[in-house]
Amino acid sequence: MTAVILDGMVLGLQFGLLATGLTLVYGLGGVLNLAYGQMAVISAMVVLFAMDAGIPVLPAVGIGLVAGGLIGLFLDLTIMRPIYRAQGEARVLLSLLLTLGVAFIVDGFLNWRYPLKALNLFIGGGAVEILGVPMRRGSLWASGITLVTFAILFAFFRFTNLGRAVRSVIEDEEGAKLVGIDPRRMLRLILVLSGVLAALVAITRSMVIPVDVQAGFSITVFALIVAVVGGLGSVPGALLAGIILGIINTIAATYIGTFLSLVILLVAAAVTILIRPSGLLGVKG
């Protein structure tokens, strides 16, 4: 049982990180980015090509993270312009359609040009025992990086002026304007951050399993489920929901069967939404 819980937490941290980039953009701008998984996959491919070109792993990973941020910036400067001009429901719908379009284009292109590429950053060495359970080194590294990332994010939002400014836009956009914050600039910053997080998701994931060019949509779907359960717009919610769903998923996969684990995740998500429509720690409700 300890093994299942630990594995669940490893998966859960990954889920949490996955959902964070998506949930922030929604909380701030009311935009659901369905190309989120593709941002992750492109970043993974950038790391892969950098390594193929002879660049060592760490710098290649750095290039991948920068690439993720640049994709975010690119989206902000292009499709987000008409999206942010729309208000309310129209904005959500437009964001769904346009980002889905981007996702299809990216997926189509990658599948056509590089159908067999996959990023693989396995970390070798023997298993490490934790609480008597042997854990893979890759999983531990991925979890460690995720925890550090969350610590940085929390510190940013709590203790920096810029972080507080971002939160104020999530809390009340008009109030933010009244203290001199330009919401549009905060949105740009967060979309860039979201791109970096997407890249980090792909990189940490590839330490455990290969990230191939088809991974985009499944990343988006998992991110969406976790973000909705945690409460769209809430980073602590994403982390909490990630860990809960990660444990549920692992328990389901161990005792019932992998084939049903996605169904069980969806049921867990549906139940949460029925009981708390705004999610576990939701902002808007």
Binding site: N161, A165, S168, G175, A176, K177, G180
Partner: protein, 232 residues
């Protein structure tokens, strides 16, 4: 300090305020009174850059600021406290005051001035705005605006939802600010309070300025007495 000329604004092409003109001189307290739906909120929101205006000029310290977004006006020295306050529910009092000075770091001196004015806020620095009472929220909204050291403070119905005693206290705080040299423009339905506070006033009805004068003149005007002071 502020001069509004021929100003019109509204929603989706339907003007709510029409050709409004008024001015506020440095060091003055000016009120705009009017009943519910007279257009006070629309006028202030458009003037302060939260709503598009359709015609006219808003001269603030000599510059036409009509059409500039709210976030740019704060830095010019125009602070706005809307009727709905627009606080950040899950952020603390301290965080609100810190953000009030954005993008600069809050000055110690300004912070202590605000906390001296509203000792309740000092007691509740760690409390979330969403859990505070209406009166405390109003203090916080004003305090947040003061952190940017505005030269002109514009308040839309600062007594909305406040019990009479708290409404009174709100105006006492504004009195203190005035004595310290702040210029204040306030829209109000609770006319007696605003009248005791301000030097001059304008009466807004159906989006038009109907009357203007010193507070004494308005207080003696039979129309004003009947419509806003409950005197027959």
């Amino acid at each position: 300090m502020l001069e509004v000329r021929g100003f019109s604004a509204g929603y989706q092409g339907n003007n709510v305020v029409h050709d409004v003109s008024f001015r506020v001189d440095k060091g003055e307290a000016v009120m705009i009174i009017g009943s519910n739906g007279a257009g006070k909120t629309t006028l202030f929101r458009a003037m302060c850059g939260l709503l598009a205006s359709s015609a006219g000029e808003v001269l603030f310290k000599g510059d036409d600021i009509a059409g500039r977004p709210a976030q740019r006006l704060v830095r010019l020295g125009l602070g706005f406290v809307p009727a709905e306050r627009h606080l950040f529910p899950r952020m603390t009092v301290q965080e609100h005051l810190t953000l009030g000075a954005y993008p600069k770091r809050p000055e110690r001196e300004t912070m202590s001035t605000v906390l001296d004015l509203f000792p309740r806020l000092a007691e509740r620095r760690k409390q979330h705005a969403g859990t505070m009472s209406g009166g405390e929220q109003q203090m916080l909204a004003v305090g947040r605006a003061l952190m940017a050291k505005p030269q002109l403070l514009v308040l839309d119905e600062p007594t909305t939802g406040l019990a009479p005693k708290l409404a009174h206290e709100a105006y006492e705080a504004l009195d203190v600010l005035r004595r310290d040299g702040l210029t204040v423009l306030v829209a109000e339905q609770q006319v007696p309070l605003a009248m005791a506070f301000s030097d001059r006033g304008y009466v807004l009805e159906n989006g038009l300025i109907r009357l203007e004068g010193t507070s004494e003149e308005l207080a003696e005007n039979p129309e004003v007495r009947q419509a806003y002071l409950g005197v027959t």
